[in-house]
């Protein structure tokens, strides 16, 4: 599903963000990427969603060599992956329903199908009564639920969550984790979650990849405990 082979990334300003990254994530897996600030987590996410191209090596997601994608093909590629960010990134002038529907409008889905699909995901994330609300009228946890609903609306094979609980309190974080686990189980969606929250990682144990200074320093199988100094 996701495969990185000898991937290096060096930015134009000379910063080396990733060195010889090799990893393989199978379909339906739920994997954490952890590591301190500057360890290369965000760069890895950018390589996976096609925002950046590797300096060396091959990044393969859902059978597509992302690094060799032409500029014009990137948007179509992104329809295969859902991305959730720490800051939710919702369109402030659109309602919850419109925000989720937008991800389906861009792929020219029929209106009645969009309506059904949006209602289904709103129900899945537990926001049935918030369809007409604007993002500013929701709590952080609710906004993140909308972002997750939008990311999974077109049933992507991969969901990348970049610090999805970064702005939330522990109770809310737990709720979001439960929701992601529910999606992983219900749709078989491969989930890659970047996080700083080691308490969460130890509570909801999954396969965990540890990055440091651009290197993979550990790849712990599901059930492994992560030390707090890592």
């Amino acid at each position: 599903m996701i495969e990185c082979t000898h991937v290096y990334k060096r930015y134009k300003n000379g910063v080396n963000a990733l060195y010889d990254i090799n990893l393989k994530i199978d379909q339906g897996e739920f994997v954490y990427i952890i590591g301190p600030t500057g360890s290369g987590k965000s760069t890895l996410i950018k390589l996976l969603d096609g925002e950046e191209i590797p300096t060396k090596g091959v990044v393969n997601v859902v059978g597509i060599n992302v690094g060799r994608l032409r500029h014009g093909k990137v948007p179509v590629y992104r329809r295969n992956i859902g991305v959730v960010f720490q800051d939710y990134r919702l369109l402030p002038a659109k309602t919850v329903f419109e925000n989720i529907a937008y991800a389906l409008e861009v792929i020219n889905m029929k209106k009645d199908l969009i309506r059904r699909r949006v209602r289904a995901v709103i129900n899945l994330v537990g926001l049935d009564d918030k369809g007409n609300a604007f993002p500013s009228e929701l709590s952080g946890g609710q906004q993140q639920r909308v972002a997750i609903a939008r990311a999974i609306a077109n049933r992507p094979k991969v969901l990348i969550a970049d610090e999805p609980t970064g702005n939330l309190d522990p109770a809310m974080s737990d709720e979001i984790m439960s929701l992601l686990e529910k999606i992983n189980a219900a749709y078989g969606t491969t989930i890659l979650m970047v996080t700083h929250d080691l308490t969460l990682v130890n509570k909801h144990r999954k396969r965990t990849i540890v990055l440091e200074h651009g290197h993979i320093v550990a790849d712990l199988a599901e059930g492994g405990y992560v030390q707090h100094d890592q």
């Binding site: 096609g50 950046e52 014009g72 991305v83 990134r89 991800a103 861009v106």
Partner: protein, 302 residues
Amino acid sequence: MISRIWRPIKEGFRGLIRHGATAVSSMFAVTITLIIISLFLIFTWNIRQFTRGIEEGVLRIAVLVDYDYEAAEEEDRISLAIKEIDGVSAVNFSSKEEEFQYYIDSFSDEKTKQAFEPFRSSNPMHDAFYVEVKQGSDIQAIAAKISEMEGVYKVNFGGTSAVSLVNALRTVRTVGGVIAAALSILAIFLIQNTIKLTISTRADEIAIMRNVGAKNGFIRAPFVVEGALIGALGALIPIALTWYGYTYLYRATGGYVISNMFTLMPPNPFIRYVSLALLAIGVLVGLLGSFFSVSRYLRWKR
């Protein structure tokens, strides 16, 4: 298919309402530029009108035929010879009876007209040819050639100073046109900058659109519609000013500036054309300005 066309239009209108403040500043830029363009359009179109009127009189040579050469075959010979001269575009015949009538008609009061009537039977006028020339610079040489022809009594033309005036007005007309075109390009830059500002405030929105897999065309279309709307709305005040301002000017001056030689274009259909031109320039400028700025922004984002 319909929703593909309808969506950007709907989104364009929504965008305009949601980003009211930046839209108003863009509209203001269009309004100011279009007012200046409108003044130039009115100015250059009227100059064109003046020059055309003057050209008709100036780029024409009146050739008077000698009384002894008024036979049809002689006049045909003279007409042919004139037509063969390089730089002559047309030769029109006017009989001495027609010339007499023109002369009488040039007086406005009836008394004077009546005073000339007794001379109609002993008409002192000459048969004449009116020779149109292609270029004012050739008029002197052509007049000289015609005056040497057998059977030509006299030639008259406006003189070199009149030709210089036409050339000067032509230059003014060209310069006016160039300034109007330059202002349109300037307007595109102004719109581009204001839309660029709008885009930078909406960079997050565009980033989200890209994240959910929107193609460039899908992102660009509502911005382009919004730009065209800004252009169209920005043209409203200049159109109103042109419409009422020019009608007022025409009424106040009686349609003449300085002398009878400089007649203003009648408001109808002139102001309709100017208004349409302003609307078209506004829409085009808004459309192109937003298209260029969104495209440039999208080109650098993967």
